[in-house]
């Protein structure tokens, strides 16, 4: 039974990863979770300087989901290297550094620092960040910027380079194609969906930044559709994220075409979700006579010739 997956020059023990921002730096949950059973850990987004993040309240629950606006609070890349990486290295799992930045230059510098670190196995680039030079518009909604970021970063690393796409665009496939063209090894789909909630008694937003990112089971159908659009647009692997709680959810993403999956919000409920899912997927494959989890990938049977836009719904 082969569970592992190779991306560029890195072999992951299995195809189940934990999503950025939902597992800290891997050192918060040692009692509860045996991290070595995970395919890999996407770190909390790292920026050059430490970031305090947004004011409270940063989270609120919604129907089968949650909104967050943590504001990419993080300890900064230097402290990550000095304080967190040594511990992380001890686990038999892959560490993918997730990078956030407010300029193309910052993305490059953070990546260069991390690329020199042996314990960092690859990169996931969070492009859902405000481009300070352009008045705060998100990099991730501008295909020219995503192209440029990918190109610049590709020149600076030989480790796996994954671009994490935002779902808040009309055609995510355009962005995936741009990443592929510039040499990205994979794309992660999806980051959170823009959402909002209101406290009707105070007449204030329920999170301090007014809008935030929606995640959890509520967004699973959206994530699956975005993964479907993406896998039909590019040949590089797509990493599926969004609302995965059970192994059945993960199998849905594999069937649609994800090569790996990430567990986000579910970690808050059960930090060992990733491990439970890894076992569940394996068992499902064995029961169905597959000797490789890869045999599930992109096996969706559909007779729709699709253009993923609103059709006659």
């Amino acid at each position: 039974m082969i569970e592992s997956f190779k991306l560029r020059n890195v072999e992951f023990n299995n195809r189940i990863l934990v999503a950025s921002g939902t597992f800290g730096y891997g050192d918060e949950v040692p009692d509860l979770v045996d991290i070595s059973q995970l395919g890999g850990i996407m770190t909390k987004s790292l920026s050059m300087k430490p970031r305090d993040g947004n004011p409270n309240p940063r989270i609120t629950e919604t129907a089968s989901g949650m909104l967050n606006s943590i504001g990419l609070a993080n300890i900064g890349v230097h402290k990550f290297i000095s304080d967190k990486l040594p511990t992380l290295k001890k686990h038999d799992t892959k560490v993918i550094a997730n990078i956030a930045a407010s300029s193309v230059e910052e993305y490059c510098s953070v990546l260069e620092l991390l690329d020199a670190q042996e314990g960092v196995h690859g990169f996931e680039i969070n492009v859902s960040c405000p481009n300070v030079k352009e008045g705060g518009l998100s990099f991730g909604t501008d295909v020219t910027l995503v192209t440029r970021i990918t190109k610049e970063l590709r020149q600076r690393t030989n480790k796996p380079l994954i671009i994490k796409l935002t779902p808040n665009v009309t055609h995510i496939s355009e962005f995936a194609r741009a990443c592929e063209a510039e040499g990205a090894d994979a794309v992660s789909v999806i980051n959170t969906v823009i959402g909002m909630a209101v406290n009707i008694h105070k007449r204030t937003p329920k999170i301090a930044t007014t809008t935030g990112g929606l995640s959890g089971p509520a967004v699973k159908p959206i994530a699956l559709a975005k993964v479907y659009e993406t896998v039909n647009a590019v040949k590089i692997p797509v990493i599926g994220i969004g609302g995965i709680v059970t192994w059945e959810d993960a199998v849905e993403f594999f069937i649609v075409g994800a090569s790996m999956v990430q567990i986000g919000t579910a970690n808050f409920i059960n930090p060992s979700t990733g491990i439970t899912i890894a076992h569940g997927v394996k068992e499902f494959c064995e029961k169905n006579g597959m000797d490789n989890v890869g045999s599930l990938v992109k096996t969706l049977q559909t007779n729709r010739t699709i253009s993923i836009v609103d059709s006659w719904l």
């Binding site: 949950v29 509860l32 305090d52 409270n56 989270i59 989901g65 949650m66 943590i70 609070a73 409920i269």
Partner: protein
């Protein structure tokens, strides 16, 4: 810290509105300290997130929490029965005992409504030789729990039980006539109540600790969702679930 499926041992109505839920856990009963909380998944699908509850009491292998039905989570919890299992993570957060040094004589516990939750367990484990006074405030008598409290003095907004007024007024009254010796304050309840009591403590030069409440997605330091703004120290924010829930009140900015 562990994640366990525990069995419900009993339900008890402490008041017309407040329930005590007792479950069995060898692990928690031996590891939890007063002021810590447990994070409960009340049901499999809905609501999505766990709900944090202070540990109210521990008796042999039995652990209890108290709650009143406010919204989705507590509604589901109230419908459980003896013998049902619930999914519990804990113990979470820091505790009162390891925080407080010994340089005081009287421990003044102040609980607002369901905020008395941590005090019975704290009372039980409190080092001998300290006086304890407990102030309990609430809107009306249905929200006042006395079980397990020592020297409880009660204030209700509507006067339906004890002193007619806020818990701060009651404390001020008492302190003006018969101030306890070298007091230290321990608060739990609504932010507004804690803020004003903390100010009073500061005025009289007493150290004051508060167990803070805020919405939590994980309760164990993973999500960074539970930040509280600090006024002292090098960090702008700290995490209530992990670096708290108990903070020295002069170090934090009450919102």
């Amino acid at each position: 810290m562990k994640q366990e499926l525990v069995q419900i041992h009993s339900f008890e109505c402490l008041t017309a509105e407040i329930l005590e839920l007792t479950f069995i856990s060898e692990y928690l009963s031996t590891h939890a300290q007063p002021g810590q909380f447990v994070n409960i998944r009340v049901d499999n699908n809905f609501p999505l997130l766990r709900r944090p509850f202070s540990i109210f009491n521990i008796d042999e292998n039995k652990v209890s929490i108290v709650f009143n039905v406010i919204g989705t989570g507590t509604k589901v919890l109230a419908r459980k029965r003896k013998g049902d299992t619930i999914d519990v993570v804990g113990p979470c957060g820091n505790d009162f005992l390891s925080l407080a040094d010994d340089s005081f004589d009287t421990a003044v516990f102040v609980g607002g409504g369901i905020g008395i939750a941590p005090f019975p367990f704290l009372t039980k484990r409190y080092p001998a030789g300290k006086e304890i006074i407990t102030y309990v405030g609430g809107r009306q008598k249905e929200l006042i729990v006395e079980k397990g409290l020592k020297n409880a003095k009660i204030a209700t907004d509507d006067g339906s039980m004890g002193f007619h007024g806020t818990v701060l007024e009651l404390i001020k009254n008492d302190f003006s006539t018969n101030a306890p010796k070298n007091p230290r304050f321990f608060l739990c309840g609504p932010n507004r109540m804690m803020k004003v009591v903390a100010e009073f403590a500061k005025e009289i030069g007493a150290t004051c600790y508060a167990s803070l409440e805020c919405d939590m997605a994980c309760g164990i330091g993973l999500c960074q969702g539970c930040n509280i703004e600090m006024v002292t120290g090098d960090k702008k924010y700290r995490l209530v679930c992990k670096e708290g829930t108990i903070f020295e009140t002069q170090s934090v900015k009450f919102s």
